[in-house]
């Protein structure tokens, strides 16, 4: 990417940021929520992309980190009286730690086995959250003390999204990111070239765990109530993966696009067709997985609309 292009992207990001910051004051509470969740999915999709898109290790269990963040925030705020903001930091650190511990053995597995193992991890975390009820209140769930927080949470999510975009962009364009791509293309060759695959994979994995955790914490505070099934929801993992795939795995713009489009489409169909929307959604994702595995950006590259580079 040339300097000019970098500056242009930066300017774009800046103006969008300002626009989005002013936006909530003009919107109703419902739309504020909508915007917040859209941004949340952008964060999730980008984070997922860091490990699955760049490295090629498709994780079906990232919702585990989201859940960890949500629970960290809930337990500390509701049971220990912390102010909400620092709990996000705790959630992030916790997720990073769990990511490191789990990632190390699990990243040794290849392809679909890694995916299934991650799925198992997510479900396992859910079961632990349900059973360890002295800590998590189990099936009862945790209720936050009531608060009018739609503006605070919006701003927090906006900040998180901007940070995630910047990090994803930086990672994508750095030596680190290029090494990850090399690992995706051919791990053995990459190792032969001197790339410490284990370390890099783990780093990407841990990094990708942090953002969902913070997002989970913010969301928990927004909704004011969590319980294991709602937070360790497998649909969230699918949404993450789908949005990144729809937009284009392995790119930076891809997940953003995918998240915005998919979440908006989902919300519109839910509002207007409450019963049928799930089926339409299901069919849609089957078709995307089948016919557009490289996503919209890949599609655009093929058509020559966008210049091909390793990452955008």
């Amino acid at each position: 990417m040339t300097r000019g292009e970098h500056l242009r992207n930066l300017a774009l990001l800046g103006t969008s940021a300002i626009a989005l910051a002013i936006l909530p004051h003009a919107l109703s509470v419902y739309l504020r929520s909508f915007a917040l969740f859209t941004m949340m999915y952008v964060v999730l999709a980008l984070a997922w992309n860091i490990v699955s898109g760049f490295t090629g290790y498709t994780s079906f269990g990232h919702v585990a980190f989201y859940g960890i963040g949500a629970y960290a925030s809930a337990i500390l705020t509701a049971d220990y009286g912390w102010h909400w903001l620092p709990t996000l930091g705790v959630g992030a650190v916790l997720a990073a730690a769990v990511g490191a511990v789990i990632g190390y053995p699990v990243l040794r597995l290849k392809g679909p086995y890694f995916a299934i193992a991650m799925l198992g991890t997510a479900e396992g975390t859910r079961v632990i959250a349900t059973v360890w009820d002295s800590l998590t209140h189990g099936g009862l769930g945790i209720s936050f003390p009531s608060a009018e927080n739609s503006l605070e949470t919006y701003d927090a999510m906006l900040t998180l999204m901007l940070v995630t975009i910047v990090v994803a962009h930086v990672v994508g364009h750095s030596r680190f990111g290029i090494s990850l791509n090399a690992i995706r293309e051919d791990e053995v060759a990459a190792e032969a070239l001197g790339i410490n695959a284990t370390l890099y994979k783990l780093a990407a994995f841990v990094l990708s765990a942090v953002f969902p955790a913070v997002a989970g914490g913010i969301q928990a505070y927004k909704v004011l109530y969590i319980d294991p099934p709602s937070v360790f929801f497998v649909q969230i993992t699918i949404a993450m993966a789908l949005m990144a795939m729809l937009g284009g795995k392995g790119t930076v713009i891809g997940p953003i696009l995918g998240a915005v489009l998919l979440y908006t489409a989902q919300e519109l169909t839910w509002v207007n067709f409450p019963t049928a929307h799930l089926i339409a959604y299901g069919l849609f994702i089957v078709l995307v997985a089948r016919f557009m595995p490289r996503g919209l950006v890949g599609f655009a590259i093929d058509r020559g609309w966008v210049r091909k580079g390793m990452v955008h």
Partner: protein, 397 residues
């Protein structure tokens, strides 16, 4: 990148698109909007369905009398699919987008707890009829009121009956969610007070259908009776599997399942002798609340079956709401809240007069399924017949 300016434009356009589906709640014809989200589908659909029946009946009854404070009622009922997150979203929408005038409560303690946060935040009063877990009212909330008795009392009769037949060891099991756990807590407390030993206490996941190992565990613990804080599917599965495994207990009591009319139908002989709890039964001769007889007749005429306690509770709560609105003379939320906190109303469901926390003191009855019918067996002042306990063994039935 050439695509980025268009991307930014697309992003903003999309967000603007979101403005389109925002419909403001309009009020044509001097109507008033009464709305809520309840479980039309999902695991709570059966009990919630009966509450919906009462809601619709009430709306028609009130409209026939000239409406709420002279305004015709427009009803908006949304489906929360028995899911907490969906419910929260729907209530936010109903309050902020659709701007309902009067709120209807959801079913289940878990969902009500989550929704209570929303109503508290927007300062809209709501009378709950589908929640019995006292923690909801232990948080200093001002905008939620209850008409039904709390979960802790649900198994009181069963435990007393267990004592009467000389049970000394009890197993308490239940679904791992708010209401069953509170019911379990209550059961334990009563057992301790009556000198019964709780030898096993276990919660199972809400979707569990295979209880083989759990039932074996219960038998291994030496429990003579089982208190099961369960809904329909799990209670049914437990009974069937107890029969298949040839496991005999002196007493088996479930919370919600047996109160549903088709429980006895579907299980047939397997449901005999099962104890259940009911907050209310359509027995005007026994309970004698004002207007009961007429309400039961109207309900039966319209729906082809007698109302059960879910239906009765919903109707009672709506009667209270109507009375409070009449008292206030307007739909002002604050005044309505104050009225609900102080008035006393006699409804088809019983007396409504809440304490400082917003909870009503309501008494329910324990029944036993005998020859396919629910017969009240406890408390003695309302008992139709003596309980047939201990339960005879499967092989001898």
């Amino acid at each position: 990148m050439r695509s980025t300016p268009t991307l930014a434009g697309a992003l903003v356009a999309l967000l603007a698109l979101g403005v389109v589906p925002a419909r403001a709640g309009h009020r044509p014809n001097n109507e008033v909007l009464v709305g809520g989200a309840i479980s039309l589908t999902g695991q709570y659909a059966e009990p919630a369905g009966r509450q919906v029946n009462s809601i619709r009946l009430w709306v028609d009854d009130v409209n026939a009398r000239g409406g709420l404070l002279g305004h015709r009622i427009a009803l908006r009922l949304l489906d929360d699919k028995s899911d907490i997150q969906t419910s929260i979203k729907l209530y936010e929408k109903l309050i902020t987008e659709d701007k309902v005038d009067v709120l209807l409560a959801p079913y289940s303690s878990g969902i009500t707890e989550a929704v209570a946060n929303v109503t508290e935040r927007y300062k809209m009063p709501i009378v709950a009829y589908g929640a019995s877990a006292s923690p909801i009212w232990e948080k200093g909330r001002r905008y939620i009121f209850n008409i039904v008795a709390v979960a802790e009392t649900f198994q009181k009769g069963a435990v007393h009956l267990a004592r009467q037949i000389g049970v000394t060891k009890l197993a308490v099991i239940g679904q791992d969610s708010l209401f069953p756990r509170q019911a379990g807590k209550g059961a334990k407390d009563w057992a301790q007070r009556l000198g019964i030993d709780v030898v096993l206490e276990e919660n199972y996941p809400t979707k569990q259908t295979d209880f083989t190992a759990l039932l074996q565990k219960i038998q291994a613990s030496g429990a003579e009776a089982v208190i099961s804080n369960s809904y329909f599917a799990d209670a049914a599965a437990q009974l069937r599997q107890m029969r298949e495994l040839g496991l005999n207990f002196k007493l088996y009591s479930s919370t919600v399942g047996p109160a549903l009319p088709n429980f006895a139908e579907q299980l047939g002989a397997t449901a005999e002798y099962v104890l259940g709890f009911s907050l209310w039964e359509p027995l005007p001769g026994v309970l004698g609340y004002p207007g009961m007889k007429e309400y039961i007749e109207r309900y039966e005429k319209r729906y082809g079956e007698k109302p059960n306690y879910h239906a009765g509770g919903a109707y009672g709560a709506l009667q209270v709401t109507e009375a409070a609105l009449k008292h206030v003379g307007s739909f002002d939320s604050e005044k309505l809240r104050d009225a609900l906190a102080t008035i006393e109303v006699q409804t088809v469901f019983g007396r409504y007069k809440v304490d400082a926390k917003g909870m009503n003191s309501h008494e329910g009855l324990t029944f036993q399924i005998l020859r396919g019918q629910r017969r009240v067996v406890w408390p003695e002042k309302w008992a139709e017949t003596k309980a047939e306990l201990p339960i005879p063994e499967w092989s001898r039935r």
